[in-house]
Subunit: 464 residues, 2 copies
């Protein structure tokens, strides 16, 4: 067996990053032992689908499970669900694992380990948060609890606490169930990651679908006997039969930190471009790690499924080869969500985020049709481009409306290529009447930016 050692790879966490890392490692090294520990009852859950599972738009729990433990076994990947890794001893390369079925603890060893412990929902310390009928929504099990509760109690009034994208997706899905839905947001507008023009459009969309929106309000108490019946904020008490709290998530870093893994300024695990931590033979990926925002060049924590998947590929590859084979360069913070008929997306920095990152910006927003004026069925879309006043470099984009997903992906690609606004004025995008106006809203917005920059320059010249 000289020169031939079977490497044991352990992956802690079995959602997007973990299962991707496992599959990738298995593919690259058919000899390696690959074991995945997953605390929840299922691996490879599509967490982004959970809001749609509430309403039944996604019908079966199985639809959200990309691959079962049995299917992983066929690929020679051992997936142990309901197993919690409680301790990693990096010096001896040992793990302590609790089997949640039996409650027993056992020891395992690893040669290389990938930490993909994800993130957890934050529940604010509001009195009454422990009442039945108050839920968070992070795991498939959470969704199943909500579904059971809905089946048992047929709630008529639902309240969502938190106006971020998960709260907004949940609002749509609870409306689909015929509930009267309210949404409470502590800040003065929903969709805070976006500029106010987008927040306005989201609030109008909620309003158009009968969702009661309360902004600038902090829930002070959930009330009810046994199960939730109301909640208090400001001077108001709102009757409610169901509450879903979506006020934020935080990375699960405790296990890694106790093993000596450094945590970054965002509170997530520190990794290099190869997804390596500071501890030898320990990689990390997914919602638990910190990455780089490629626009602001500053640390970022962006817990999103697609990013987790890409990171998992890099971590799994490098853990399999034991080398710095692949790199994950960082993120643009690109994201999109749907709320009723409105697509809402962004990439790069909002104006507010750009200011925090030290940029002075010029921005241009416009509302455009999503196809030729004469082609029937046109929707409207709002697009804002944000550029660096000093260099003209594109810093971010936001869109709301039909074709928002397309416009954001164009802008994300432009950011990825570090393009500037003048590059977008003559960019050769695809035009045909059913697919857009003659000039894409991206080109239109870049042309407006072009005018603004020209006038700013003239202003400077005139004052010289």
């Amino acid at each position: 067996m000289e020169g031939f050692l079977i490497v044991r790879l352990v992956i802690v966490g079995g959602v997007a990053a973990g299962t991707k890392a496992a599959s990738r490692a298995r593919r690259l090294d058919p000899e390696m032992e690959v074991t995945v520990y997953q605390e929840e009852p299922d691996p490879s859950i599509s967490e982004c689908g959970l809001p749609y599972f509430l309403s039944g738009v996604v019908r079966e729990r199985e639809d959200l499970i990309a691959r079962t433990p049995e299917q992983f076994a066929e690929k020679d990947i051992e997936v142990l669900v309901r197993h919690r890794v409680e301790r990693i001893d990096a010096s001896s390369k040992k793990l302590s694992v609790r089997d949640l079925n039996t409650g027993d603890t056992f020891e395992d060893t690893y040669d290389r380990i990938v930490i993909t412990t994800g993130a957890r929902a934050v529940l604010p310390p509001i009195p009454g948060a422990e009442l039945e009928g108050v839920f968070k929504l992070r795991f498939l099990t959470d969704s199943e609890r909500v579904r059971s509760y809905v089946k048992e109690y047929s709630p008529k009034k639902a309240t969502i606490v938190g106006g971020g994208y998960i709260g907004l997706e949940v609002a749509e899905n609870l409306c689909q169930l015929g509930m009267e839905v309210s949404l409470i947001e502590g800040q003065d507008r929903v969709a805070l990651a976006y500029g106010p023009e987008v927040s306005e459009r989201v609030e109008a969309e909620l309003d158009a679908h009968g969702v009661g929106v309360y902004t600038g309000e902090q829930v002070s108490e959930f009330t009810g006997e046994g199960h939730v019946q109301g909640l208090k904020f400001g001077g108001t008490e709102l009757a409610t039969d169901l509450v879903i709290v979506g006020v934020g998530i935080k990375p699960n870093v405790e296990l890694a930190a106790e093993a000596g893994v450094d945590v970054g300024s965002t509170g997530a695990i520190l990794v290099d471009r190869h997804m390596k931590t500071n501890v030898p033979d320990v990689w990390a990926a997914g919602d638990c790690v910190q990455t780089l925002n490629l626009v602001s060049d500053s640390p970022a924590w962006v817990p999103l499924g697609d990013t987790a998947n890409q990171m998992g590929r890099v971590a799994g590859t490098n853990a399999a080869t034991g080398e710095d084979t692949l790199e994950f360069p960082g993120t643009l913070g690109t994201g999109i969500f749907k709320v009723f008929d409105l697509g809402v997306g962004k990439t790069g920095l909002s104006e507010e985020e750009a200011a925090v990152a030290g940029f002075e910006v010029v921005s241009a927003g416009l509302s455009s049709r999503d196809r030729a004026a004469y082609y029937p069925g046109a929707g409207r879309v709002f697009l804002k481009l944000i550029a660096d006043r000093a260099t003209g470099r594109l810093l971010g984009a936001e869109a709301a409306g039909s074709s928002a997903d397309k416009l954001i992906d164009i802008c994300a690609t432009a950011l990825w290529g570090r393009l500037s606004y003048p590059d977008l004025v003559n960019i050769d995008l695809a035009y045909s009447p059913p697919y857009g106006p003659t000039l894409s809203p991206v080109i239109q917005a870049a042309t407006i930016l072009s005018g603004k920059f020209a006038r700013a320059k003239e202003g400077v010249r005139a004052s010289e």
Copy 2:
């Protein structure tokens, strides 16, 4: 009036490039005289909408006219329709213009001139092409003739000659009118600008909608008494009540050439990046000019409405300032069309075009869902990425299916930024279940390319 001269700008042609140039010049220089001569009865026609006007998807001719002469007059732009510029004398800066209403000719002068004479449909010299019921489709007047003919004769069988995008769009629109439609293409497949995988999908879509497709067939004769009743190809005679010929267009360069303007290797007018011709104070833009394909770095002639619009902006600006204020860098040859429920688009070079341009390529094609597997209503889309074997640079992309427009615009932006396939593996695009699979087909295809390049390298190493 010392140092203050009113400049007279004449624009020859009033469709996309011409009217854009006029509007832009007017905006930049409120003093300038701006006159547009347009041979057809209307200016600023949306030519891309003509197929949809046949079927009534676009109902009124007015829907296709972005601005009437009266509306231009309000902006102090003189638009003279049914006026043909017959001669430009660049040495004396004089024009000879025929008023097609009266038949009279008159002389005009210019200080600066923009030539936007567009392109015309080529009618192949097939016996019987002069029969009533045989049409080309280039101008609004052509569409109106077809509509009148349809109204008068209620044709049941229609035949389209030419399987390019216009022929394919027309096929869909004639089917919408309830006609039995056949399409005849001289080459061995339709949509020749694309690879065979796309052609197959287009042919399947035509077939699914009952269009009879005959490839590799040359029409030898149109038959009929007075109006068309049939056509012959190979050994076959096909009965038909209506024929639309869409076998190609060519640039209108004769007027410019006679004025001493150079014509390029593509047969279109030669301009520099500022849309200037070789003749002083003569600019040109739109379907009549040659530009640069930015991928192959070779001359290109790409007669498309959006490109014409962008060129018109540059030509109009520079003609207004009399300086090289703006640049039009060139084209990627990006295009898209819809045929029934299939979106078909491309950007950059097809494999065949890449080979002609001297590239050795690696390509990756895949068929993907256009949203998360569990999200209802998913369509499918085919995507092919084409990369330079030597450098990994992305050279082109083709897509067919739902969301083809989005994927092509992502790839066009990547080409515009001169990205390579490894850049696309970790690109941060927008994901949410209603808008795409977890990893965009662009990322999936780039990942496949990545594997192919890696194996090619290993193959080289193994053989070393």
